[in-house]
């Protein structure tokens, strides 16, 4: 896997370059059920205005950088995209310095491999990119960190692709409480468990779904089911119950130092080697939101990136079995 870390304060040539590079693949994915299966530009933009008005100017700017086309703008709205699902585990370590740690288990071929640092609309945000401006995990300069796992339910509804919801939270919120209110309010098109941790150690997990109100819990651990396992074969295949239990044991039974806790994510049973099935662990991300620090880890490698100490660069990571 070839990973990159890029920084650009305001949407500009770097972002436009990224769009040009990724768009052909995204376009293929976005059109896989045909153009008419996706919402129109008018509907998409109105949805953004209704639910995330603060970032509409940013959206308009990105559409412009993307060339101003209809399909690109509809794609960038993240409104009712084709369904996608992943694995993932995440947990909050509540020791001396609170940490959000997560494993991203997904298909290596459908992944940006990109850490993006931005200062859009005057808010510094760093995180793992998805769909060019969405995020699957990230942190902002107010000390708010956020991460998602797939919620293990097949239901697809009317709403936004969750990576944009994460971006929106980081652009507009400063505390876990504010984030919780946004996550409860903005419609999602599939089920996800989103965990947030703020600089005051407050945290929550929102179990979001398109067909029922979000459940805001005080869970410190999230894997791939919500209150009950609903999609049994997915649960079995991704060992979601086992991973949750393992993480809860780590938190309550042990007094692991921070590094040991993080280390557990890089070994089985949390670390998944099911790359051929599209659920291998692509990376482990570590966020220390009070310090503004972020790391991307692979077995044997740590890549330190932060809001302040952010050095652009790249890494070629070779994970046996992964692309």
């Amino acid at each position: 896997m070839h990973w990159r870390a890029l920084s650009e304060d305001t949407p500009g040539p770097k972002w436009a370059g990224l769009f040009a590079e990724y768009w052909p693949d995204y376009k293929r994915w976005w059109l896989k059920e045909g153009d008419s299966a996706r919402a129109s530009y008018l509907v998409s933009r109105r949805a953004l205005e209704d639910h995330m008005p603060e970032i509409v100017p940013l959206y308009d700017k990105l559409c412009e950088l993307a060339g101003g086309g209809d399909q690109a703008a509809r794609f960038l709205s993240f409104y009712c995209p084709p369904p996608y699902l992943a694995g993932c585990s995440q947990a909050i370590w509540t020791g001396e310095e609170p940490v959000l740690v997560r494993n991203y288990d997904y298909n290596a071929n459908a992944f940006d491999s990109l850490v993006l640092r931005t200062n859009w609309q005057g808010r510094r945000v760093v995180g793992t990119s998805d769909g060019l401006w969405g995020l699957v995990d990230g942190m902002n300069d107010a000390g708010l960190a956020i991460s998602l796992t797939f919620g293990g339910r097949r239901i697809v509804g009317t709403g936004f692709g969750v990576p944009l919801i994460l971006r929106y939270v980081l652009q507009t919120c400063t505390t876990a409480e504010e984030a919780g209110a946004v996550l409860a309010r903005v419609p999602t098109h599939m089920s996800y468990n989103v965990t947030v941790l703020d600089a005051n150690r407050n945290y929550l997990t929102a179990m979001m779904a398109p067909d029922r109100p979000a459940i805001i819990t005080h869970a410190a651990v999230a894997t791939n089911h919500q209150e009950n396992v609903e999609w049994i074969s997915h649960a079995r295949f991704t060992a979601t119950v086992e991973r949750e239990r393992f993480l809860l044991q780590r938190l309550t039974l042990h007094r692991d130092p921070e590094d040991k806790f993080i280390g557990a994510f890089l070994r089985p049973p949390l670390y998944s080697t099911a790359f051929s099935a599209g659920f291998g662990t692509l990376y482990t991300a570590v966020y220390r939101p009070r310090l503004g620090e972020m790391e991307v880890r692979w077995p044997g490698t740590v890549w330190c990136l932060g809001l302040d100490a952010f050095q652009e660069g790249g890494r070629r990571v070779q994970i046996p079995g992964a692309a």
């Binding site: 869970a219 790249g314 046996p320």
Partner: protein, 485 residues
């Protein structure tokens, strides 16, 4: 057959000739082990085959997914929808009766669909009784006191401190959420760091039982509330939190039954309180089998209500195999009697007096052995169910297959029930099996004795595992960072 059963002998004969099929449906049959020998047409339907197909009354569906269930209710609901289980029940005919360790409203629905009666109070009522907050309330009504406590929602550590100051119970605390077993939902909290570790299990969980921490011994007692009165079993010791057996601090890991475990006064008091509690349960609409945990203050001998389990439990096998159970009838038989709609008369006082007699109690202990190492692997070898012998040098060897725990002849033998099977994940907290021995497993001061430690070590030594696949993308494989222009 008389229309009204008038004594123990007639009750025993009634079950000896029972025609209706009765099923205990659960992960394993351990809790009601041996009951099939008292009740004709009694079968076990289990998820885990602890006996490798050799137990004549245990039925396990052969085709099973290797899923990690979230609860025992999930296992039962899975079993009740399995074709092999349904075929088995249909083939045996009659009007089936189901008993469970745990069940929910979905279990009730599935049972109804199979034309079976659930021989327990309704899940809704059981859940209500199981709520630790509700238990305190029932105890207070019955005159059975709980450890000084306060019931409150907890929002933060500061909030908890305020609540405790107001209640005057200090800051050395034991917290319990409303549901769940003691190993997982009991938190010992003395500092903010302790609180942070369990914060996610406390905040947002509704009312929490906040208790003053006392220096106490755990004990368990089982009883059965019948229309003729509450029948009370013997007071048992509890094995709690031994690191050789369980990784959970405060987690239950076994019991002992012996006539002198507690002073006569304490035993008598516990029996009286259990009787009173049972009578109150009947007023609340609950009937049948239940278990109470009592906390006995080490210094004063004061006896406090710990928790109520409105069901059969992990200790039921002890109660139902005690000497008095063999002499009269196992306690669970009275539960079946209560639900059978058969008319009966019983002098409960006389029975209780007899069961209080120490001559009717001989010493046994059971230890639930879990994997206690902080490791995860896949089990490749595990000891099988049967009778094991301890040799002169302290090593433990398999002697013969058996499914009767009473087949244990001496303190140098033990009955082991296998739970972990080759191919299963072995993780911290995974059940390996249950070991039943004659005699005590604890010292007088309630520590594991040497013999028990040898048994545990001997069994654990025979479990083997192979590591899970791991990945390595070490630094040698990662290019140094390069600048992107």
């Amino acid at each position: 057959m008389p229309t009204v059963l008038k004594n123990i002998s007639e009750i025993r004969r009634f079950f000896h000739r029972n025609e209706d099929p009765v099923y205990f449906i659960s992960a394993t049959n351990f809790n009601l082990l041996g009951l099939d020998e008292w009740v004709k047409n009694f079968k076990y339907i289990c998820y885990i085959d602890c006996y490798g197909g050799k137990h004549p009354n245990v039925f396990c569906p052969s085709e099973q997914p290797h899923a990690e269930f979230q609860s025992i209710e999930d296992i039962n609901n899975y079993l009740l929808q399995h074709k092999e289980v349904i075929d088995f029940i249909k083939r045996r005919g009659g009007k089936p009766k189901f008993v469970f360790l745990m069940f929910d409203e979905e279990t009730e629905r599935l049972s109804k669909e199979l034309g079976a009666d659930v021989w327990f109070p309704k899940a809704k009522l059981r859940t209500k009784m199981d709520n630790k907050i509700e238990t305190v309330r029932i105890g207070n009504k019955a005159g059975v006191p709980s450890v000084p406590n306060v019931l409150a929602e907890v929002k933060s550590y500061e909030d908890l401190q305020k609540t405790c100051e107001k209640a005057g119970i200090g800051h050395d605390l034991v917290l319990q959420s409303a549901f769940g077993d003691s190993g997982h939902t009991t938190f010992f909290i003395k500092s903010e760091a302790d609180f942070r570790r369990h914060e996610h299990e406390i905040v947002g969980e509704g009312e929490i039982k906040i208790m003053k921490r006392i220096d106490c011994r755990g004990s368990a007692i089982e009883a059965c509330a019948t229309k003729e009165g509450t029948i009370v079993g013997p007071l048992m010791t509890e094995l709690v939190g031994f690191k050789e057996l369980t990784p959970y601090r405060g987690g239950w890991c076994g019991n002992e039954i012996l006539s002198t475990a507690f002073p006569p006064k304490v035993r008598q008091k516990a029996r009286e309180l259990t009787f009173k509690f049972g009578e109150q349960l009947r007023k609340e609409g609950y009937r049948g089998y239940f278990e109470l945990d009592f906390l006995i203050d080490k210094k004063t001998g004061d006896i406090w209500l710990g928790e109520l389990n409105p069901r059969i439990t992990g200790a039921s096998s002890m109660t139902n195999h005690a000497a008095f159970a063999h002499a009269d009838a196992p306690l669970f038989l009275f539960h079946l009697l209560e639900f059978s709609k058969k008319k009966f008369q019983l002098d409960v006082d006389e029975l209780n007096a007899r069961w209080a007699d120490s001559a009717n109690i001989d010493s046994w202990s059971q230890m639930v052995i879990k994997h206690t190492d902080d490791s995860v692997d896949i089990c490749t070898e595990a000891p099988e169910t049967g009778i094991y012998k301890m040799l002169e040098d302290g090593s433990v060897v398999f002697d013969r297959f058996d499914y009767h725990r009473r087949a244990v002849e001496s303190e140098n033998e033990a009955f082991f029930l296998r739970i972990l099977q080759p191919g299963d994940y072995r993780y911290e907290g995974a059940d390996i099996g249950i070991l039943v021995t004659r005699g005590r497993s604890m010292t007088k001061s309630f520590q594991l004795n040497e013999r028990a430690k040898k048994w545990i070590h001997g069994i654990k030594k025979t479990v083997e595992g192979k590591p899970l696949p791991a990945a390595n993308a070490g630094p040698v494989l990662a290019d140094p960072a390069f600048k992107i222009l």
